[in-house]
């Protein structure tokens, strides 16, 4: 017996996909993903309509979905993140039904507890056998961890595995086992390797980014959390990595051994683990080749599912044990609410990802961002979209000062005692406006084009159509 079928079309037929169903995709192939476009093109070609797409993230490579939306092949969209190209079209109102935005933990939680139902999961697998045992660690399109695909595999009614690297049964080192899989398809290519991962992820050379990173590392130092057993999450962006570098320097100087680091994993974090600064990496997603090699070869580098990473529906998850997380922001308001969904003009160009999950879980949530980005002040009276609630954010670090959430008075006192440039958040806002001028308020008054759900599934904010 084999689950192998000859084509994507046969797979779609085999699982009985019909109009109006919900299909799901993961985003481990990031901007190199061919699978979402491939499957939607096939479905459109078969004349299916009115599908609801639950994709953990939509990138610019998925631009063809705009046509499928216009032709009503796709009439519903649920994501954790959406890149600027599709985001702009959504903001302009091409989709009638509001998009549902969740966080990484929220999506896993909603799937696990049945609040987000999936009829057919199409899982891009860099490596699989003909019974559907799959892994992201091997093959020409290797992506490392398959963390976001676990809930899809476990909760969808039917599961289709799409691979370009079919190996003889049994694939030993598999991430998701055959028991969840209905159908396996082999295709020429599931993605463009050069866009799935970057060769190396580099630390920023931008002086302002470095300054912000330095100040953030000082906040970490004086927060009291930087001691043996320290756990840490930072993003893959150049400025976030710079924080990791400064933190590493402090750990070296003080001889501190951390417990685990997490998040989008890069070679930089891998090297920190290899040098002994962290015992373990908990990896829900790899960002570069070094991370993929490490998750394959180093037993201390563990793949974890989105559920284990951040699901609020689980009895516990890894973000709950996190000491410090470094986060980004496009806007922050004077109540410390953070926007990572839209740009300053209100166009969708992002999403929570793990932002609100880690902010809630970590003991210290630090937002790093330039006070002014191409003339636009970071701090506003009210964010255009509340992605992460202010009560879960502890500190905003900019190159011109550090604002501490008033709920965290002890931290504020510690940072002042360390001679760090602590400022009231309103004072930072005023400084930015003095430099850049007071911006005219941007308003979005059209109908709702997206509902932003908090990680527990409750509605947190809406995003409106650009007039």
């Amino acid at each position: 017996m084999s689950k192998l079928v000859g084509s994507v079309r046969e797979a779609v037929q085999a699982v009985g996909l019909t109009d109006g169903m919900t299909i799901s995709f993961h985003h481990h192939l990031r901007n190199g993903d061919y699978v979402l476009n491939m499957v939607l093109a096939e479905i459109a070609g078969m004349g299916l309509k009115d599908l609801n797409v639950n994709a953990s993230s939509i990138f610019d490579v998925h631009e063809p979905i705009i046509e499928h939306i216009k032709k009503k092949v796709v009439t519903g969209l649920e994501v954790n993140y959406m890149g600027g190209k599709v985001g702009r079209a959504i903001s302009e109102g091409i989709l009638e039904k509001p998009v549902i935005f969740r966080s990484h933990g929220g999506r896993a939680g909603d799937m696990d507890r049945g609040a987000a139902k999936v009829d057919v999961a199409f899982i891009a697998a860099p490596c699989a056998d003909d019974m559907g045992n799959m892994s992201g660690k091997y093959g020409p399109s290797a992506c490392g961890s398959l963390g976001y695909a676990f809930s899809d595999a476990m909760c969808a009614k039917k599961v289709v595995v799409i691979t370009d690297h079919l190996v003889p049964y049994p694939l030993l080192d598999c991430s998701i086992p055959e028991g969840y899989v209905d159908v396996v398809v082999q295709v020429d290519k599931i993605g463009d390797a050069s866009r799935i991962v970057s060769g190396t992820t580099k630390i920023t050379r931008d002086p302002v980014g470095l300054r912000i990173a330095y100040l953030a590392s000082q906040v970490v130092k004086h927060s009291g959390y930087l001691k043996d057993g320290f756990s840490f999450q930072t993003g893959a962006g150049g400025a976030s990595l710079a924080v990791a570098k400064y933190v590493e320097e402090m750990m070296e100087k003080e001889g501190i051994k951390g417990s685990f680091c997490m998040g989008g994993i890069t070679g930089y974090l891998v090297s920190m683990m290899e040098k002994g600064y962290f015992e373990t990496i908990l990896d829900v997603q790899c960002f570069d080749l070094a991370a993929i090699a490490s998750i394959r070869d180093n037993k201390n580098h563990q793949e974890i599912s989105a559920t284990r990473y951040a699901s609020p529906a689980a009895k516990s998850c890894a973000v709950d044990s996190l000491d410090v997380v470094i986060l980004g922001a496009t806007q922050v308001d004077t109540d410390f609410n953070v926007n990572v969904h839209t740009d300053s003009n209100g166009y969708i160009m992002g999403g929570s990802g793990g932002h609100c999950d880690t902010a809630k879980g970590a003991k210290l949530a630090i937002v790093v961002a330039p006070l002014i980005r191409a003339r636009l002040p970071l701090i506003v009276d009210q964010v255009l979209c509340k992605s992460t609630p202010g009560e879960t954010i502890d500190v905003i670090v900019t190159q011109r000062g550090i604002a501490v959430n008033p709920k965290n008075q002890k931290l504020k006192e510690a940072l002042i005692a360390a001679h760090l440039p602590v400022k009231d958040i309103r004072e930072l806002k005023r400084m930015a406006e003095e430099i850049a001028g007071v911006p005219k308020a941007v308003t979005c008054t059209g109908r709702v084009v997206a509902n932003v759900l908090y990680r527990d599934g409750t509605l947190m904010d809406t995003i409106r159509k650009k007039a």
């Binding site: 300053s344 003009n345 191409a374 003339r375 636009l376 850049a436 001028g437």
Partner: protein, 88 residues
Amino acid sequence: MEIVKNAAAGTLESSDVLICVEPADTLQIEIQSVVAGQYMDAIRDAIEDVLAKAQIKTGKISAQDRGALDCVIRARMETAILRGGSQS
């Protein structure tokens, strides 16, 4: 002053502005900006102020703004005028 030849100043990098000037019979100002929604009036004011100080009454001015601060817009305008202008 008067704009007598085509000239440009600035770059398209973030926080900068590219200003192009060319001779024309009337005064025309075209502005594209990534922060048009927030700062269009301020950008126009800065450009017009530099033109007024240089007593330039005609010419085609185009600005492609990447979020330049007021002082940068003024600097690039002055440079473009210096390069394309002549004391009349």
